[in-house]
């Protein structure tokens, strides 16, 4: 592989965003027919580099060469013409268009002024056959499962005759089985001479599929290595810049009495579709129940129903025997709930309030924060200073707006507020580490385990299977709004969970 020709090369690429040097003099190359993984933490600058190569952003400095020739890329039109295709981290598909319309958009075939759907569909079918990318050209894109949407994105690049395909975090939204399928497609593509840049922050994946691995950190390329010459620990060190502990340190648990009890819970979403059907489970004090599942299988509505943000249609929710079904968040919070919400910026913080104010959002109306209805700034200030140092929140002062902090520190503000309250009996943490850097992830994981060891019940909802496996004592799998399995985390495997997440009703071995 190493002998083949270089098809794409970026030299000295630099890009400054307000406040961050997203790419700092980056060199990168791609050889014909290889899978070159670009590995790095969130915010390392991977997407930025690709957006620069693809022409969505313009570099401050640096050049791009395709097949040895310098190309000036001003817009995606130029990169598409140079044979570069990109599947973005967030899909660039129009839900109300059909597959064929999405594929042809920007490169339409017309017949006497009308869009020629038939010709486009024929070409899509041909590409599907050639690369094993099964898609129905006439299906609407919106209702398609994400795995299929991703295929549509890949078909889009091939439709434009791309010879270089960039896949930006393609596995983030897939089940392990869907990811396997994607890897098969990637190998089929490279076998036919397509070269692939594969972006990810998951170590296992790069070791499994990449021919070469380039690691980025804080806007710089750290190193380029071959999978045969490295291992997870070394890659993790390069990604983070220091020794990282890849496993969470966790003692055996002693589960105590039942804290959260959910019986026959049914919830509808805002479109009035039933997204949680008749779900029952319990969480005891001193244990972590992990809810695994691909995003969009009802986890959001489930956690909203448990935390008072949404009223269930039927069923019952109790905390320590107290019926809290459909009660407002304040009542549930007072009964002992700590909630780390899925969308920290919308439901976790008031971005335009200071860190100090945000840290008192749950109990600002109580003594010592309020006395006879008047807010006590001194109490807020003291509380926030205490929490900032206890929870290692990196902020210039308690009086900056929460919106100014980085994602990891915003999450720490929420964790500090929720977990520091003294009557907490139950923690509901929904995607608590999504989009965070490794340091913050480690920290938040250890705080969650600390709560569990103190005898608190923890419900952890996450689409990251590794996170679920590392933290949970028991694991429930959600699929299409139902809990399809609940198992002891020591007695199951990734593969088994993956099958359940994909809807296969296989009995545990």
């Amino acid at each position: 592989m190493s002998e083949s020709q270089i098809v794409l090369e970026a030299k000295g690429v630099t890009k400054q965003f307000p406040g961050v040097l997203a790419n700092d003099n980056v060199d990168f190359d791609l050889r014909k027919g290889e899978i070159h993984a670009l590995l790095g933490e969130n915010g390392a600058g991977k997407s930025t580099l690709m957006n620069l190569i693809y022409g969505l952003h313009h570099p401050d400095k640096g050049e791009v060469f395709v097949n040895g020739n310098h190309v000036a890329i001003h817009s995606p039109n130029d990169s598409i013409a140079a044979g570069i295709g990109m599947v973005h981290q967030h899909f660039m598909l129009i839900p109300v268009f059909t597959v064929a319309e999405n594929v042809m958009l920007g490169d339409e075939t017309t017949k006497r002024g009308s869009l020629d759907h038939l010709a486009v569909a024929a070409k899509i079918t041909e590409i599907s056959k050639q690369y094993g990318l099964d898609v129905d050209p006439n299906a609407l894109v919106g209702p398609l499962p994400v795995g299929i949407q991703q295929r549509v994105e890949i078909v889009k690049t091939l439709y434009r005759n791309a010879e270089i395909v960039i896949l930006d975090e393609p596995t983030a939204v897939l089940t392990p089985q869907e990811a396997e399928d994607l890897f098969r497609i990637m190998r089929d593509l490279t076998a036919r001479g397509v070269s692939i840049i594969f972006i990810t922050h998951k170590l296992k994946e790069v070791l499994a599929v990449a021919d070469r691995i380039t690691v980025m950190r804080a806007g710089r390329v750290i190193n380029t290595v071959k999978p045969s010459e490295t291992d997870s620990a070394q890659l993790a060190n390069m990604m983070v810049g220091r020794q990282v502990i890849l496993t969470v340190d966790k003692k055996d648990h002693e589960a105590a009495e039942e804290i959260l009890k959910v019986e026959g819970l049914t919830v509808r979403d805002q479109r009035n579709l039933e997204t949680v059907h008749n779900v029952s489970f319990t969480v005891r004090g001193g244990e972590v129940l992990g809810i695994a599942g691909v995003q969009g299988n009802g986890q959001t509505e489930l956690s909203e129903a448990l935390t008072g943000l949404r009223s269930p249609i039927s069923g019952k929710v109790t905390i320590s025997g107290k019926d809290l079904t459909g009660k407002p968040p304040r009542i549930i919070t007072e009964a002992g709930l700590a909630h780390i919400p899925e969308d920290r910026q919308r439901h976790g913080l008031v971005l335009s309030y200071t860190v100090a104010d945000n840290m008192a959002l749950c109990d600002y109306y109580q003594i010592p924060f309020s006395v006879r209805g008047v807010i006590q700034p001194k109490a807020l200030d003291e509380n926030s200073r205490k929490l900032i140092s206890a929870y290692d929140v990196r902020t210039p002062s308690p009086f900056v707006n929460a919106g100014k902090l980085s994602g990891g520190n915003q999450q720490k503000v929420i964790v500090a507020r929720e977990l520091s309250r003294n009557n907490v009996k139950l923690v509901v943490a929904n995607q608590p580490t999504r989009g965070l850097d490794v340091g913050s992830i480690e920290y938040i994981h250890s705080e969650i385990i600390k709560m569990r060891d103190r005898g608190v019940a923890v419900l952890l909802i996450s689409a990251e299977l590794d996170e679920i496996m590392a933290l949970s004592d028991r694991i429930a799998v959600m699929y299409r709004g139902q809990i399809v399995a609940i198992v002891d985390s020591k007695k199951t495997t990734r593969e088994q969970l993956g099958l359940w997440m994909a809807g296969a009703h296989v009995e545990p071995a």
Binding site: Y54, P76, I80, M92, I94, E101, L105, E108
Partner: protein
């Protein structure tokens, strides 16, 4: 257009027509009343249809346009004024002056839309505020110029409104001529054919609007331009990543939309009556928006909705036409303000979403940032 909404539209039109037939049937045959209603409906729905098309193009591309009212009003004024200038000052023939007036109106609409585009696309001003600016500007500008040019002391036209070149002629579609032979000697039959012919004898903007509805529908859903327009209104990032220039597409569609509103303005002062009065559009721009919404942002749907509003207006007009023949127990309908409010009540009713919610383009009203 889903079944429920189409059913509702048909139902309301039938009800409105029935009311007029009922009150007028003592003296007039129903066919005459129905054809008269149809003719009026099509004519008065014209500015609503064009206004709704204006909104469809704009919003399908992702720019909310509540400035249609203002675009219509200024186009009505400047189109009419342009005609007068051509006719009176440049001594052009009446026909040419009228035609140029229509062109002036279209250009005025386009120009006002350009202002809206600059505000909302380039400067990313809140689009509701941008549209409000257009509306206020139009009221102020037309009112001021109208006073200054025609009524001020020492004004250009010396204190009186000069005669305008007139209005667009009716286009006769020869149904009568083609089908009268079928009737043979029956005069009743001849009268019927004549009545039916009246429905189709419309003026050019009214007929043009109907052609534009179908043309726009075709463009929006079957051509490259339409696909790209809808793409930038649904998901501009996605359009950008396949090399479509989002800003250009939005500008173009907003301006096209403005030109439709301009043509709607021409309807008032060049097709309907040859005079201008301040605020003459009287909320028609906003009713057009309701039609656009009820028509689910499609040209044909919007047209159907515009016909409902047209029918409710036609009901009022026909009540006036048949004034002498209305039996006394119904005469309250003529005076009642409630009847005059019908189009507005319908608007509110439709916008409550009782008859099913429609879905705007996903990126409607959202400025595009990379």
């Amino acid at each position: 257009m889903d079944f429920k909404r189409f059913g509702f539209i048909t139902l309301i039109i039938i009800v409105l027509f029935s009311v007029v037939v009922m009150v007028g049937q003592a003296k007039q045959p129903p066919l005459l009343i129905i054809t008269s209603m149809l003719a009026t409906t099509i004519a008065v729905a014209t500015p609503l249809t064009l206004g709704a098309l204006s909104g469809v193009f704009c919003e399908r591309a992702g720019v909310v346009n509540i400035g249609i009212e203002g675009m219509m009003l200024s186009a009505a004024f400047f189109g009419w004024l342009g005609g007068i200038y051509m006719f009176q000052i440049y001594d052009m023939e009446a026909g040419i002056s009228i035609a140029l007036g229509v062109i002036f109106a279209i250009l005025t609409g386009g120009l006002m839309a350009l202002l809206h585009a600059v505000l909302s696309i380039t400067f990313k001003v809140d689009q509701i505020i941008g549209g409000t600016v257009i509306n206020i500007l139009a009221v102020g500008l037309t009112g001021f110029l109208n006073r200054q040019l025609f009524f001020g002391k020492g004004s250009v036209f010396g204190g009186s409104v000069p005669s305008s070149p007139g209005v667009l002629p009716t286009i006769h579609i020869p149904i009568k001529e083609l089908f009268s032979s079928v009737c043979g000697a029956s005069t009743a039959c001849l009268e019927n054919v004549q009545a039916i012919n009246r429905v189709f004898d419309q003026k050019p903007i009214a007929l043009g609007a109907i052609l534009l509805v179908f043309f726009s529908h075709y463009v929006l859903f079957n051509t490259r331009w339409g696909l790209r327009t809808r793409a930038v209104g649904e998901h501009p990032q996605a359009a950008d990543t396949v090399g479509i220039n989002v800003v250009k597409m939005r500008y173009a569609n907003v301006i096209i939309g403005g030109m439709f509103a301009g043509l709607a303005g021409a309807y008032f002062t060049i097709e309907s009556v040859p005079s201008f009065e301040p605020l003459l559009t009287n909320g028609r721009g906003f009713i057009s928006l309701a039609a656009m919404i009820f028509g689910n942002w499609t040209p044909i749907g919007a047209w159907a909705a515009a016909l409902v509003f047209g029918a409710s207006q036609a009901m009022l007009i026909n009540m006036q036409i048949f004034r002498d023949v209305i039996p006394p127990q119904w005469s309250f309908l003529q005076e009642s303000y409630i009847v005059g409010l019908t189009p507005y009540i319908l608007t509110m009713f439709i916008l409550t979403g009782i008859i099913g919610k429609t879905t705007p383009p996903a990126a409607d009203g959202v400025p595009y940032e990379k």
